[in-house]
Symmetry: C2
Subunit: 259 residues, 2 copies
Amino acid sequence: MNPAELSPSRARALFRDGLRVPTSGYSPGYAQANLISLPRDLAFDFLLFAQRNPKACPVLDVTEPGEVSASVFDGDLRTDLPAYRVYRDGKLVEERADVTDLWRDDLVSFLIGCSFTFETPLLEAGVPVRHIEAGTNAAMYETDRACRSAGRFSGPLVVSMRPIPAGQVADAVRITSRYPAVHGAPVHVGDPAALGIADLDRPDYGDPVQVREGEVPVFWACGVTPQAAVVASAPEFAIGHAPGHMAITDARDTEYQVP
Amino acid sequence: MNPAELSPSRARALFRDGLRVPTSGYSPGYAQANLISLPRDLAFDFLLFAQRNPKACPVLDVTEPGEVSASVFDGDLRTDLPAYRVYRDGKLVEERADVTDLWRDDLVSFLIGCSFTFETPLLEAGVPVRHIEAGTNAAMYETDRACRSAGRFSGPLVVSMRPIPAGQVADAVRITSRYPAVHGAPVHVGDPAALGIADLDRPDYGDPVQVREGEVPVFWACGVTPQAAVVASAPEFAIGHAPGHMAITDARDTEYQVP
């Protein structure tokens, strides 16, 4: 089973059957998405939060209340991601592989663009992606930058980090800036301290990755930001993907490319 | 009083004092915006409608309920547009210059990008804008294309039309495509019948403009689309701008330019 050769529906079937892995490198060429499912009465505040923080929360799709598939996701949002996180009153109460029995008719699900989507064009341009090489999850960090709040939602910007050889940083910027719907250009290049990140070896989500001599840490806005907002804002209930364990959509990454 | 020399706040003051004119050509260099104000309980459905129809409804700003200014609009949304349209149960009941006495604490106001914004770069590139030359309002048409619906909102795509010399159509496409937040590239070039427009001389909103020999009618998605959705969907109450009589914002048009 080569993750790079799986169609989205085949990958989703494996996850539905229990495979529990980060999805970076899976189904290259297809967009991946962050999930946040919230009760209907919080949906406007969250959609406005996303609209006000478009680099961190680019909205790819929004379901009707209770629906378990989406126009870009021809699967079951309750089972077809490798893992989920469940929040009650802003507390992470559980991580699990299936949320069918927790599902509610009033849940509106938001699919938010994921930077794994632009890793395929990075690799094709010869820009290395360390966590794919290493077979680990991406490294993600909460920053000291506040998102613009909206109604009941506020929280910090979360970023993913990829170490990029100094001579390829410009390529990485140029390539990723063409994909604004999956976070686009980096928000920061270089010093992690300037984002309030104390120690790159201790990510808040995912796995640490090695930054080698001659490489620069490059930070992109991350779709875990909504879950940090859930923790900061304490809505009564929320379901998200487990960081790095994404919804693999049926949309080609090229659909999100701008000229 | 030269409209091209007025700052946004000076233009807004004139409108507040009763000047009732289309705003194309006013305060060049500043973004203009469509207004739609809706009761809070419809706000999610509308924001989702906008998210699903981003070419017609690019959201520049959303207010908190009851607020009368916005981060990009340092004025009073109830008085500082030249004219407003008031809808009850989907019926246009009134057009007037001030909506202060109709304002409600539960109104959420959406500022939607307006194609007047990219007329400055068009003119700078030597592409003519007929309705500015003629001193009239732009020509706007309802099409037979349905927007993607969202909750209680559905309706037809509305477009604005500018006649462009055939040799400059490519320039017009190239220039406007750099402004996706104010409708971006045209949705259609040429035959109006293909959009279900029977007669260019009878626009649904604004004034007709002359299409001269050697010119092609070019159609851009238009921020009157939300008002067509109000008519089609019949929410209990809504306030919009009078078509062509826009909110002049404090945001520079260059803020909405992409590379």
